[in-house]
Amino acid sequence: MPYISLEAHLPGITGLLEYRKDTAAPIRSLTQVLLRGPSTLSEGERELIATIVSYGNECKFCTAAHTAAADTLLGESNTSQRMKENIVSAPVSEKMKALLEIAALVRQNGKNVTDEAIQKAKKEGATDIEIHDTVLIAALFCLYNRYVDGLATVTPPQPEFYQALADRLVKHGYNRLPQGYDHLKKTATEVK
């Protein structure tokens, strides 16, 4: 049970973003530009960064949602699975490994990001903007994970829920749906 009154048909982050819309607006816009805006990192790579941070923060809702989004964008689920097991042996480029390592350090504390970790990423060809965006995506998910778990929002157990959410994130991105979320009320009852 969430610690505050949230709409029952909107588990996880969505209920929070609908609870207070004036703070949700910049959080949504920031996420949209970071994860879907113009970038030399693919959308799939950026979802992997969101996933590794949420996984490290033990946020089940965000981990399931962004794993599903990354898998949908990449067209397979092997990469996200192996990344969660071990970044070093994950089937991603050396540059991505270095950026994922930076994200994992940011998750612990900003001060834990070492010159060595940054130099390694630069040596593998990471640009200043890629390093910046990696750090900010990791920091942003430290916000999301704490918001979602700190108010004890509902984490649905059904994998279909996260696939439907991922399809929405891939198709519509992170902006608020123009029609709102009332249409999900029916689906929520059907799933249970």
Partner: protein, 181 residues
């Protein structure tokens, strides 16, 4: 030295948002609505939560600047800020604020650290749902800002006078995206 090439001589988050205003504009919008927008918590209380979380994350830049803003906003009660940063439980802040700061401290560690008992204790002290929500979101937001500022090793001034000046600006003008040095 910052890890990336941000404008020289600009401190903390200001240098980062000038490097990337595409994301920076929303970070400043969030700070403005969260810390200055409509809320049952006063601006002083919200800046205090920000400073408290930043202190627990050892983020000197955010801690010093938000503590300075909180001191300005608390006015003749400004000692509360330093009391809370030194020892929150023994400070002269209200019992309700103590229970909210306790929740903020849990959020700083990890979201799932916040227990039903923590929330029940805050409600017993008269905290509303919206106050609990805003406390959690401020603590979560500063868990982001602190990591952004330190994760890119942005410049942290050491002169206390620099923060006093920032505190005055933040408490009177709020948060607007910096466009030039």
């Amino acid at each position: 030295m910052p890890h990336i090439q941000v404008p020289e001589g600009v401190p903390g988050i200001r240098s980062l948002v000038m490097f990337r205003p595409e994301t920076g504009q929303y970070l400043y919008e969030l700070a403005q609505v969260l810390l200055r927008g409509e809320s049952p918590l006063s601006e002083a209380e919200r800046e205090l939560i920000a400073a408290y979380v930043s202190s627990r994350n050892n983020c000197m830049f955010c801690m010093s600047s938000h503590a300075a803003a909180a001191r300005c906003l608390y006015g003749d009660q400004k000692n509360i800020v330093d009391e809370v940063l030194a020892d929150m439980q023994r400070s002269s802040v209200t019992e309700k604020m103590k229970s909210l700061l306790h929740i903020a401290g849990k959020v700083q560690i990890l979201g799932k650290e916040v227990t039903e008992e923590d929330v029940a204790a805050a409600r017993e002290q008269g905290a509303s749902e919206r106050e609990i929500h805003d406390t959690v979101l401020i603590a979560a937001t500063f868990s982001m800002f602190n990591r952004y500022v330190d994760g890119l090793a942005s410049w942290t001034p050491t002169d206390p006078a620099a923060y006093e000046e920032m505190g005055v600006r933040m408490s009177t003008k709020g948060y607007a995206l910096p466009t030039k040095i």
